[in-house]
């Protein structure tokens, strides 16, 4: 029961934040992806960096249970799937999480995205044996690995560096990049005020 309460509290907070930073607005997403407005990218980099610093610092002082980490396997299909997801993300302006939030916030096109997503997930369920047989799902570089060795995590590292300290350093680097990135890379500033949304 406790886990359901946490699911509701953290899930609702996540959905609300995605709405407020504009991540569930396809216009904001594609202005980030076509490099004309990088403010959302700056927010995401800051979030990854802050999350990393807090988590690894918490682990080092014993506040965060290392066992809560969950590292996904590396395999060739991760890159291929990433390419597909990226293409669809730009086409639709939605990814799985922001799509469901957008649909709930009254965007009708997001309902079509979610419907297409359910069909796409079903298509994968049916074609999974083919991918499995292709070898593209076989682990590479050790599979479930982190960049350094995180003490107590049970995951191997691709380097022998201390994974928690490396995580904090990389987290700080993400935060630094968030601040260093310009708000715009391509095109000329339009000089117009940013829309209220």
């Amino acid at each position: 029961m406790m886990s359901i309460i946490l699911a509701i509290a953290i899930g609702a907070a996540f959905g609300a934040v995605l709405d407020r930073i504009g991540a569930s607005n396809p216009t904001v997403i594609n202005k980030m992806l076509n490099l004309t407005d990088l403010r959302l990218a700056k927010a995401i980099m800051l979030a990854i960096g802050l999350g990393s610093v807090l988590m690894f610092t918490g682990q080092m002082i014993g506040l965060v249970d290392v066992g809560h980490m969950s590292v996904k396997a590396a395999y060739a299909g991760v890159f291929l799937g990433g390419l597909l997801l990226g293409g669809g993300w730009a086409m639709a302006g939605y990814c799985p999480g922001t799509g469901v939030v957008a649909a709930a916030s009254g965007r009708k096109d997001a309902l079509f995205f979610v419907a297409g997503g359910l069909l796409g997930a079903a298509a994968y369920m049916v074609t999974y044996p083919m991918w499995k047989a292709s070898g593209l799902l076989d682990p590479i570089w050790g599979g479930k690995v982190t960049l350094g060795v995180v003490p107590g995590s049970g995951y191997d590292g691709v380097t022998n560096l201390p994974g928690d300290i490396l995580g904090i350093v990389l987290g700080l680097a993400f935060i630094a990049i968030a601040f260093a990135l310009p708000e715009r890379l391509l095109g000329q500033p339009s000089g117009q005020a940013h829309p209220a949304e």
Binding site: G15, A16, N25, L46, G82, L84, F112, F113, G120
Partner: protein, 183 residues
């Protein structure tokens, strides 16, 4: 009331941190499979069945990893599934509290209108096709923007970096080609 990227980034980072502090890293795309499984199991109850030590399925994907997904289909009231339902609730309340999204955006978002006009049918078709590709790709990759990219890179997972490289290579290319006019 637009939120600055700094405030938004701090709040988003805190949510990702709280999730891993209290439960586990955030992920979303698996739940599309779980909902598909719930629907398919309602149509064909033989799809997911209880075993002595858990659940299994006639579908190889639901049955993999010791029936982990089959178990979630058999027990929809689990953390990860409720989490996504709660995201919808949070997104809805947040949007309503700021007066709802721009009425002109209900069917066709602004940047799309600037580039392709306001015909909703065209937009719906591309959104549907995009959804299909996104979820097919996310399942092939084993995660999406939340699970692989944000949760993964935050934990220094090598897979998160591989995923982000693929996702942004394709997304930036497609977006620059598709959206040349500014909103």
């Amino acid at each position: 009331m637009p939120m600055t990227w700094k405030t938004g980034g701090v709040l988003l980072g805190l949510v990702f941190f709280l999730a891993i502090l209290l439960v586990k890293p955030i992920g979303v795309s698996t739940q599309f499979v779980i909902l598909d499984g719930i629907i398919a199991d309602a149509v064909n109850p033989d799809l997911v069945t209880a075993t002595d030590d858990g659940f299994t399925s006639t579908n190889a994907y639901l049955a993999k990893s010791g029936g982990k997904y089959a178990k979630s289909v058999g027990n929809p009231l689990n953390y990860s599934f409720v989490f996504v339902l709660a995201m919808m609730l949070g997104g809805f309340i947040s949007a309503m509290a700021r007066g709802g999204i721009d009425a002109r955006d209900h069917k066709v978002p602004a940047l799309w209108r600037a580039n392709y006009g306001d015909d909703p049918v065209k937009r719906y078709l591309v959104a549907f096709l995009g959804g299909f590709i996104v979820l097919y790709g996310a399942r092939l990759a084993g995660g999406c923007t939340s699970g692989h990219m944000m949760s993964g890179m935050m934990q220094t997972a090598v897979s998160g970096y591989i995923f982000a490289a693929g996702a942004f290579a394709a997304a930036i290319t497609v977006s620059i080609l598709m959206f040349k006019k500014e909103a």
